[in-house]
Symmetry: C2
Subunit: 345 residues, 2 copies
């Protein structure tokens, strides 16, 4: 039994069933926080699920949110760069949509302060979904008869089919995309058999190596306090010529591209480790193909440590224990544009 296991055991015996184990190890909440101006409702979630899966939100009619953030899989596309309209490949690897509701900011550079703001970005990005404007998107949605009723159910007002409401609905849907009850969560709640011995050893190594100093909190994604403190980290933190030559991590200036503040050069949002086994390849540029390599590189570039193969294997085993339970979802029906055709490019 490892030290943390003992602490957890003690807390479990004392009847603690949720979060805040030893002040550090926390289970994933069952519900995501909701902004005051966009409470989650069944109607909004249903509309959002439809919009999220509707490729008509792209210029070609072929790219939906779900194309690069596949909820049937790990919430992204398992590619280094995502493929948008006209086979254009994005410069950063798609982050997972699963548990993104627990990120204080969105995108690798944190440029969106909310899921609502994030949802609007890719649709009009020329290399992602390629729509010229949200006005064009809304015009399309208004031509699809079924959408009027769906928006009217989800929102009040006289003009409900709007970009803001579409983004709110998509965000509301995304707040339901939570994967609780991973082996780690069960362990954190007191079931000491939920992680194997190797996984428990990996948790210990993860902690001792210092990984949790950034990958903290129930999402293993930083403080998420909304102040940005602890949510961004310089990557690579320690320059390494060989790794740079191999992976080109530093080509991307990260958060600097948003703020143009020199201090933000190469800062990236701390990504969640939830379901990390399902979201290869790794890092902002998706150049690292295996979780083993990702763990070893992180230790080297962020903590100046060389892990041995057993340590890497143990941490990877632990990270596999962060794969949660995916909620069952019914496939949405996309409302039709009966007998008519959009001018897809």
């Amino acid at each position: 039994m490892y030290k943390l296991g003992s602490l957890i055991g003690a807390l479990a015996l004392a009847g603690a069933t949720t979060i805040a184990i030893a002040g550090e190890w926390q289970a994933l909440p069952d519900k995501a926080p909701e902004p005051a101006d966009n409470p989650t409702t069944t109607e909004k979630v249903e509309l959002g699920k439809i919009l999220y899966h509707d490729p008509r939100l792209s210029s070609s009619g072929t790219v939906a949110c779900a194309s690069c953030h596949n909820v049937m899989a790990g919430g992204e596309d398992n590619r280094s760069g995502s493929v948008g309209v006209k086979a254009q490949v994005g410069g950063r690897s798609s982050p997972t949509v699963w548990n993104s509701a627990f990120n204080a900011t969105q995108f690798w550079d944190g440029r969106a302060p909310s899921l609502e703001a994030q949802a609007k970005g890719p649709v009009t990005n020329p290399i992602e979904m390629g729509m010229k404007s949200w006005d064009d998107v809304v015009a399309r949605l208004k031509l699809i008869p079924g959408y009027s009723g769906l928006f009217a159910k989800a929102f009040t007002g006289s003009d409900v089919v709007t970009a803001d409401n579409a983004a709110k609905a998509i965000a509301a849907y995304e707040r339901t995309l939570i994967t609780p009850n991973s082996p780690y969560d069960k362990y954190a709640k007191g079931d000491l058999t939920a992680l194997s011995e190797q996984q428990q050893r990996g948790l210990q190594t993860f902690s001792e190596t210092g990984c949790a100093s950034c990958h903290s909190g129930p999402g293993f994604n930083g403080s998420q306090n909304g102040q940005g403190v602890g949510d961004y980290i310089k990557f690579p933190g320690i320059e390494n010529g060989a790794l740079e030559a191999q992976y080109g991590f530093s080509k991307d200036l990260g958060r600097y591209e948003v703020t143009k503040n020199d201090a933000d050069k190469h800062l990236f949002k701390v990504p969640t480790l939830r379901n990390i086994a399902l979201t290869a390849p790794y890092f902002h540029n998706g150049k690292v193909k295996t979780l083993e390599d990702a763990v070893a590189i992180m230790a080297k570039t962020q903590l100046g440590k060389d892990l041995n193969p057993q340590q890497v294997g143990d941490i990877v085993a632990f990270l596999n224990g962060l794969t949660g339970e995916f909620p069952k979802q019914e496939m949405p029906r996309l409302p039709a544009y009966p007998g008519k055709t959009f001018d897809f490019e």
Copy 2:
């Protein structure tokens, strides 16, 4: 009340609840025929649904069967030509997967004699899913741990992860993609209120104009007797310079491309009219954008008739009555390739 309605009414009063109204108007069966060597089972359907939605069956990892045959919509992509890997656009418009189990042959040129044979085609087509070979697909599937168990549940034998079994599973899933209980079906079964007065008039016009001579049977897709008789039709049947100049229908030699028999030039499979309102644009090249135009062009090129706007409107109203009920489906979970990355192009 129109003549056909009367006949149906008489039959309904006599207690007839299914098919064979006046020898011509038939409701869609609730079950699709199954080949002797591939009986439909729950396990096969579940595996097939997963494979059907798995973009890792494409060279880029971005194109699944569902990409061009979207079961959340009308079973295709509402484009004139589908977009495959590297943004390549196919030469023919994607046919709907819904009710494809009622087609005796598959593809516009009928080159696949079964759903099983069809399922194998697009995966290795260089402009569709772009895999170099099914051996490569199988090699990938074998690297995904979850697939072994899914194939083992669905099939017997020592080497179950095979191309044949993948195709069988996809076909078994597709046999569940049936949309019964359209307004027309309810009408055909005796509910004379299921079609509006205009739709009933449209049914009459559809019949009198001669549309049903090709679009016959419960699928409105020809005889489907497996002999090919009545399953193919020359299109355009009557040459029309103005329409040819506008739409270029004759650029495609149709079934001739399969048989190299001169008599098969410009022959195409009679496509189903089920859910036709959801599958714009129309015809093998998808050049006709509205159902109104499609109906008028068909009457002109196949039957030598000029329909007036009311006749067109009535037939379109009737065709809207062929939109069926789509079965609820749970989203599949795609098994992971944990912590590893495929070499997607």
